[in-house]
């Protein structure tokens, strides 16, 4: 019912552009090199006892030339606009007005960072007895920057991408944590596969270096504390380390790509998503199994790129699921990039397409044996994205014949 498998008569959808700005670097070469070297960039001090994967600094000017535009955005938006620009560059359509004026956009987004000084200032004053009825109103009226709202609004990531790059097609923003990234790809894929759209920019961005987000996830005791460990090695020390990243993809119908001479990294064959009830142990695993069966047949050389976060019980259930498919070498992006929430699934798709185009899966980075070496070039990679609380997604990325 909510499947997006290429059906007979539907057009093939290629991934023709990838933009990455992560804690490991910007661009495909830097990220690929870091993965080969098993490099991990974590900050264990800045937010101690919490661990985050900070963005490796980039020069925003190269993708967001106007300082005025940069000032209108908070970090999560700047990271996203930057990565989106890289994806357009990678697809060779940056500045191509004919294409950009009709490109469809589906963005997975959360919300923007709060002004912590304002929040702390209000709460401290109240703790000291400020209790006039209009106190909060007056402080917010005088202390909030007028344009901060626009840097917080979920759909203003897409808005800023459109402004900076002159996009003029459709623009939709999906929210809902991890699975929003999978649903963004599912809808974009189904629109192109059915002929509703020719080309789409899809992705998300996340700033993991935010104390307001740490508070939110700390409510549920989801944050990784004190000591870093690979995702699969956190069972007795569960949690996710928030990561900063932007990951965008250009999806395009084969015909549209061929007409302009664009080369594919890979094809996106299918994206399926669901909402397990997660009332009982095993609910999520059963849903992942169901999604696995919905993907097109896998007969090639396969692998799995997982977005497992390290949070429990989701990570253990996903591992149980993966054990049943142990012939597929697994890689967890959460170990290398941290948990980038809405961005994790697009990031997984990006790394799958990159691995296929480079003829090798990146090496394992795990002490538990869950990740094993892979010899030879993968031709089919399943991307798995299970939310830390709700939502499951899966996709099949394949080599173009």
């Amino acid at each position: 019912m909510t499947d997006t498998a290429s059906k007979p008569g539907q057009t093939e959808v290629w991934i023709t552009g990838i933009g990455l700005a992560t804690s490991l670097g910007e661009g495909l070469d830097a990220n690929w090199a870091a993965l080969q070297e098993k490099r991990i960039n974590v900050d264990e001090k800045g937010f101690a006892p919490f661990i985050v994967h900070p963005l490796l600094p980039v020069s925003f000017d190269s993708q967001i030339p106007k300082k005025g535009d940069q000032r209108q955005m908070e970090a999560w938006q700047r990271i996203g606009v930057y990565a989106a620009g890289l994806a357009l560059d990678s697809a060779g359509i940056k500045g191509n007005k004919d294409i950009l004026s009709k490109i469809d956009m589906v963005v997975a987004a959360g919300g923007g960072e709060r002004d912590l000084n304002v929040d702390t200032g209000v709460l401290n004053a109240e703790a000291k007895g400020a209790n006039a009825p209009g106190f909060l109103n007056e402080r917010l009226m005088s202390d909030l920057r007028p344009t901060l709202f626009l840097a917080q609004l979920s759909n203003l990531l897409a808005g800023n991408i459109a402004i900076v790059n002159g996009l003029g097609g459709t623009s939709r923003t999906f929210m809902g944590e991890e699975v929003a990234g999978a649903d963004a790809l599912r809808i974009a894929l189904s629109r192109i596969a059915s002929g509703e759209s020719d080309i789409a920019l899809v992705g998300g961005s996340h700033n993991g270096e935010r104390k307001d987000l740490l508070v939110l996830y700390e409510f549920g005791d989801f944050n990784l504390k004190n000591k870093f460990a690979p995702v699969w090695a956190r069972k007795d020390h569960a949690g996710f380390a928030l990561g900063s990243a932007g990951a965008f993809l250009v999806l395009e119908s084969k015909a549209h790509a061929e007409a302009r001479g664009a080369k594919p990294y890979a094809k996106l064959s299918s994206v399926v998503t669901d909402l397990a009830r997660r009332k009982q142990s095993g609910d999520m695993e059963a849903t992942l199994e169901k999604l696995w069966d919905k993907l097109p047949r896998r007969e090639g050389k396969g692998a799995v790129i997982s977005g497992a976060s390290g949070a429990e019980p989701a990570t253990s259930e996903e591992r149980d699921f993966l054990k049943k498919h142990a012939d597929f070498p697994v890689r967890a992006t959460g170990t290398m990039f941290g948990h980038t929430m809405e961005t994790q699934f697009p990031l997984g798709i990006a790394l799958a397409a990159l691995s296929i185009s480079r003829g090798a899966l990146f090496p394992p980075n795990d002490s538990t044996g869950t990740e094993i070496e892979m010899q030879g070039a993968p031709t089919q990679i399943v991307v798995v994205g299970a939310g830390h609380w709700r939502g499951e997604g899966m996709a099949l990325v394949e080599a173009v014949d």
């Binding site: 019912m1 909510t2 919490f50 919300g111 929040d119 702390t120 709460l123 109240e126 703790a127 009825p133 209009g134 106190f135 909060l136 109103n137 009226m141 909030l144 007028p146 344009t147 709202f149 626009l150 609004l153 979920s154 759909n155 203003l156 897409a158 808005g159 459109a162 402004i163 002159g166 996009l167 003029g168 097609g169 459709t170 623009s171 939709r172 923003t173 999906f174 929210m175 809902g176 944590e177 699975v179 929003a180 649903d183 599912r186 809808i187 059915s194 104390k211 740490l214 508070v215 939110l216 409510f219 549920g220 005791d221 989801f222 998503t273 669901d274 909402l275 009830r277 609380w389 499951e392």
Partner: protein, 425 residues
């Protein structure tokens, strides 16, 4: 019998159930009778102190109670009520088993001030830092707040309650969100992925910070007294929109599936269109081209020409810029007809329900088609002489209405339009 496919060969998408809640009341009957009577739902805010605010009125939904209160909780409760109403009318599926996906337009979610204050009090001493808040957030005491303030929480709750299929999509296209939720449902049915879709839009975010945010952007009316007269679309003395709460739900089905199960067809979503404006974060391109393109795309999607539209349910926020832009762009698309087609803005009475507006106004448009009566634009005492719309001013008007265009324009360059008709074309 009409063909189950439209002019472009796609399944015709019909509406078989609707539910609505606004500041006027709960349900279609109550809302419609008050709407055509020209009643306003705008009132002075009582939910929280208004001292120090420039704008002190809003279209709050105070008759729906949520405990503990949060804007997201209110959004969820309203969404639940309107979905129940829509499903009862549609009579589709079984209880807790809706045979299709959910598309939910919902305001962005974040931790709110009551919960933040609770944390602040829990620190137990003045002169604390944000790190102190962070230190006491864990341990399970506030685990309910994690669930409450997940962006996907409202959709997950609705999906579990009503048994929608697959992953529910939560979306935001700012003030166009409600229209986008309908568009996503229409597209899923047209692609043949499903025979039915549940499209819900909800917004319960009249809280101090949301009000301040819009206030700081000078977007809100400050004509607080009397509150009922604050929202003045197309008037010379309009000075901004009025924040409001509400929700709308529509059950969409393919015409074929609806007929097969003998469902009553309430109307047709004949066309959807959307076009991004990359000019500015909050302002429309001065040439109006993106909005013009959006309306033209919608007409093309419906396979219709401007002369076939006999009513426009305007975005009509009552901000100085929006209403002027809407007239200019409508004129560019409709020519002289822009001054003849009856136009109304529901926001004059229910205010701007932000994320819900597109769905709320689509439902009012469908009720207009059903009753052949156009609700008025109230507070239309001093027409803006530069906006030459045929405004249905102050009193409802009986009219032959066969096709309505409903417009939604939002921050971030979001433009979306819908065309709704009584019968399949």
């Amino acid at each position: 019998m009409t063909a189950p496919r439209d002019k472009l060969g796609r399944p015709v998408v019909v509406v078989t159930g609707m539910g609505i809640t606004t500041s006027l009341g709960a349900g279609k009957a109550d809302n419609w009778s008050k709407l055509v009577a020209g009643e306003s739902g705008i009132r002075t805010i009582t939910r929280f102190p208004i001292d120090g605010l420039k704008t002190t009125m809003a279209g709050t939904v105070d008759f729906v109670s949520v405990d503990p209160f949060s804007s997201t909780g209110l959004s969820e409760r309203m969404a639940e009520l309107v979905t129940q109403e829509a499903l009862e009318q549609a009579g589709i599926g079984a209880r807790g088993d809706f045979p299709g996906p959910l598309f939910l337009a919902v305001a962005p979610v974040e931790v709110e001030w009551p919960q933040r204050r609770e944390l602040g009090r829990a620190v137990g001493s003045p002169d604390f830092t944000y790190d102190d808040l962070l230190r006491i957030s864990g341990g399970g005491k506030y685990s309910a707040y994690h669930h409450r303030f997940m962006f996907g929480s409202v959709a997950a709750h609705l999906a579990e309650t009503f048994g929608t299929k697959g992953s529910p999509i939560s979306l935001s296209t700012a003030c166009a969100s409600g229209a986008t939720s309908i568009q996503l449902g229409v597209e899923a049915i047209r692609r043949g992925e499903t025979d039915a879709a549940l499209c819900v839009a909800t917004d319960g975010t009249v809280n101090p910070e949301a009000l301040v945010r819009f206030s700081l952007l000078s977007a809100l009316s400050t004509q607080n007294d009397p509150p009922q007269a604050a929202s003045r679309p197309f008037s010379k003395n309009r000075d901004g929109f009025v924040m409001a709460e509400g929700a709308g739900a529509l059950v969409l089905e393919s015409y074929e599936a609806a007929v097969a199960r003998g469902a009553k067809i309430l109307g047709v979503i004949a066309g959807c269109g959307e076009l991004t404006d990359s000019f500015h974060r909050t302002r429309s391109s001065p040439d109006g081209k993106p909005i013009i393109g959006c309306m033209n795309k919608t007409l093309a999607d419906a396979g219709m020409t401007p002369d076939q539209i006999d009513h426009i349910n305007a975005h009509g926020t009552a901000t100085p810029e929006n209403d002027k832009m809407e007239f200019n762009t409508t004129s560019a698309v409709f020519g002289d007809l822009a001054q003849k087609i009856p136009v109304t803005s529901n926001k004059s009475m229910v205010g701007h329900t932000i994320s819900a507006a597109g769905a709320v106004e689509a439902i009012f448009s469908l009720l207009t088609l059903e009753h052949q009566r156009i609700p008025p634009t109230i507070n239309y005492e001093t027409p803006d002489p530069t906006i030459l719309f045929n405004v249905v001013g102050n009193k409802a008007r009986d009219a032959r209405v066969t096709a309505v265009m409903s417009n939604s324009f939002g921050f971030g360059g979001q433009n979306a339009s819908l065309i709704l008709t009584r019968e399949p074309a």
